[in-house]
Amino acid sequence: MPSWQNFQPFLVIGLALGGVYALSGVGMVVLYRATGVLNLSFGAVGAMGALIAWQAINSWGLPQGIAWLICVAFAAVLTTLYGLVFGAALAKRDPVVKAVATLGLALILLGVMDLLWTTSGGASRSLTLPTDSSGFQISSLTVDWTQVISLGLGVALTFFTAIFLRVTRLGTAMRAMANDREITAMLGVPVTRVLAAAWFGCGVLAGVAGLLLADLVALDATTLTFLVISSLAAALIGQLRSIAVTFIAAIVIGVVDSMITPINSITNYRDMTPFVLAVIALLVLSGRSTVSLERGGI
């Protein structure tokens, strides 16, 4: 068993990853509550945004700040467009249909990314934020600012989303939509505008998460696309409902996944963390009823 000293750097990495997972998880929960769509293309959209930012910096010679803005704007616009076109077209369908449709978008983006940014010949890219190079020391431990920002954004976003949903008009409308869309529409809430706002917010978060994960993990289309599963696991533990539980679960997943790394006997299995936690959560939390009243299938 490695000593506590060995675990410390992994704790920092885990907290940073957990922060980004929380960011994504909360985004997914809010979108699911407001629109009924579980957005599985979250990771792919962020990945493509990050790759575009990489392209902007390395081939177009744009300054970093503008490249990041392009990334976030791309993610937001694409997600909103999808929401307005396909979200609307599938509005009355079963949640599983809506989720599988977002997988369609994810596949399209994966294909486009593989076509435009080939990895043949071992080409690898990296996106480094300037906050990587500076940091501070806690006793013997180095913490860089990207890690601080990741955790900080996760915390701040969870906090502000909770307040936003409770206090603002738009937030109240979103919560109302989560309860019953028809009645909300009847009460005079501009449903389409609220939906668009929810999709837009989700897209912004996808872009930010894409940038941070590209820096913290790797700038690789497939990796980033499927990292969404960790956030999804957190969202599932929060029953696609509770922002607070999603946040805690995301941090736990990030930390556990990372902290297992130095333990040699199980280090290879560390990536199972989100799956195992999510499966346990699904089994424990899923309802007891064996009969569903909805029509199944596609």
Partner: protein
């Protein structure tokens, strides 16, 4: 198909009966024609095709055969019972693992190994189905996605058996590992293709037999409405588990074929993405017809090889599959197998229009 009833005012009695009989006879002929076409196609696939094709396409067609079985299992789950699984590629990997392990450990005849692979996978798949029973659509899809992810992590560590010892049968130091054994009668690639086609036909018949009898009717009822299925006295727990068991069994057998087809299995070839792509092509092929499974397998395994030989990047296919999923879900729920004949018929009518104007009293076309 041609259900347009032409109301004839003068003869409601005898004439109607005669027309009924005529229509039945037409349906009968149509079924017979279809049966003949199917038999001829199968005969072609079994006898001349493996000998004509280059080894490259023999390999591709073997993969098509294997994945047609996998797509069939997934199609039953999604289309007939309404259970969306995002983890079928992991189930296939389990089948392949079991088959490879048994093939290295024993000298049992190949059909028996396929059966063992199918049965072990069936037990594992049903275990997955057990907790999933109380979950509704979305949660079931997600738990299968999570389990598939977990399985792929485990496989990445344990690797596939390559003739080593121990329970896992993996030897990490081996430089020259023996290939996975094939059946004695099907050692060459064309022979193994024929062997796979025979197994696939058996699996298709097995599934069709299920669909035509009691379980098929029970699944149709469950898909329409679980509540009314219960009210009709259907044990939905039993039939849902049955569906999982059937899909896992055929997928496990397909895994056994895959082990023999590839001869060397690597965990890197089984990714979470494959399960998603698999669902995409199954939806595109058509989930309400067993032929949709064949189309799905052609899309998944033959098209990339064709594109490859034409020098087109196979990544275009990922884009195509994504577009296909969106199209199926929004406008064409029955997939290509339903869409293609209809589009062709429409095209045919369009082409026939100039000729038909000479006979304004001609037949009013097909359905609708």
């Amino acid at each position: 198909m041609a259900t347009t009833e032409v109301q004839a005012p003068e003869a409601p009695g005898d004439g109607a009966l005669q027309r009924q009989a005529l229509r039945l006879r037409q349906l009968d002929t149509r079924a017979r024609v279809r049966a003949v076409v199917v038999v001829v196609l199968l005969a072609f696939c079994l006898f001349p095709m493996p000998s004509i094709l280059s080894l490259y396409y023999v390999g591709a067609m073997t993969q098509v055969t294997v994945y047609a079985i996998v797509a069939l299992g997934l199609g039953v789950l999604v289309g007939r019972v309404g259970l969306v699984s995002l983890g079928q590629a992991a189930v296939l990997a389990m089948g392949a693992w079991v088959a490879a392990r048994v093939l290295f450990a024993t000298s049992l005849p190949y059909p028996l190994v396929l059966l063992i692979a199918g049965l072990v996978t069936m037990v594992l798949g049903t275990l997955v189905g057990l907790p999933a029973l109380r979950m509704r659509g979305l949660y079931l899809a997600l738990i299968t996605l999570m389990l598939a992810g977990a399985i792929s992590v485990v496989l990445a560590t344990t690797n596939f058996p390559n003739g080593g010892g121990g329970f896992l049968g993996y030897n990490g130091n081996a430089v020259h590992t023996p290939p996975i054994r094939r059946p004695g009668i099907a050692n060459s690639d064309p022979a193994f293709l024929r062997y796979s086609i025979v197994v696939a036909i058996l699996m298709f018949l097995f599934v069709v037999w299920h669909l035509r009898t009691r379980p098929g009717r029970a699944w149709a009822a469950i898909r329409q409405s679980e509540a009314s299925a219960v009210a009709a006295g259907i044990n939905i727990v039993r039939y849902k588990l049955w569906a999982f068991a059937l899909a896992s069994f055929v997928t496990g057998v397909a895994g056994g074929l895959l082990a023999g087809a590839d001869r060397y299995l690597y965990s890197i070839d089984f990714q979470t993405q494959d399960s998603i792509t698999l669902l995409a092509v199954v939806l595109m092929g058509g989930i309400y017809s067993i032929w949709g499974a064949v189309i799905a397998a052609l899309l998944l395994q033959l098209l990339p090889q064709l594109l490859n030989s034409w020098g087109v990047s196979p990544y275009w296919l990922t884009v195509l599959f994504g577009v296909g999923v969106l199209q199926v879900l929004t406008t064409a729920p029955a997939g290509i197998v339903d869409q293609m004949p209809r589009d062709l018929a429409r095209l045919g009518r369009l082409l026939a229009r100039p000729f038909r104007q000479a006979h304004p009293t001609g037949p009013a076309g097909g359905a609708q």
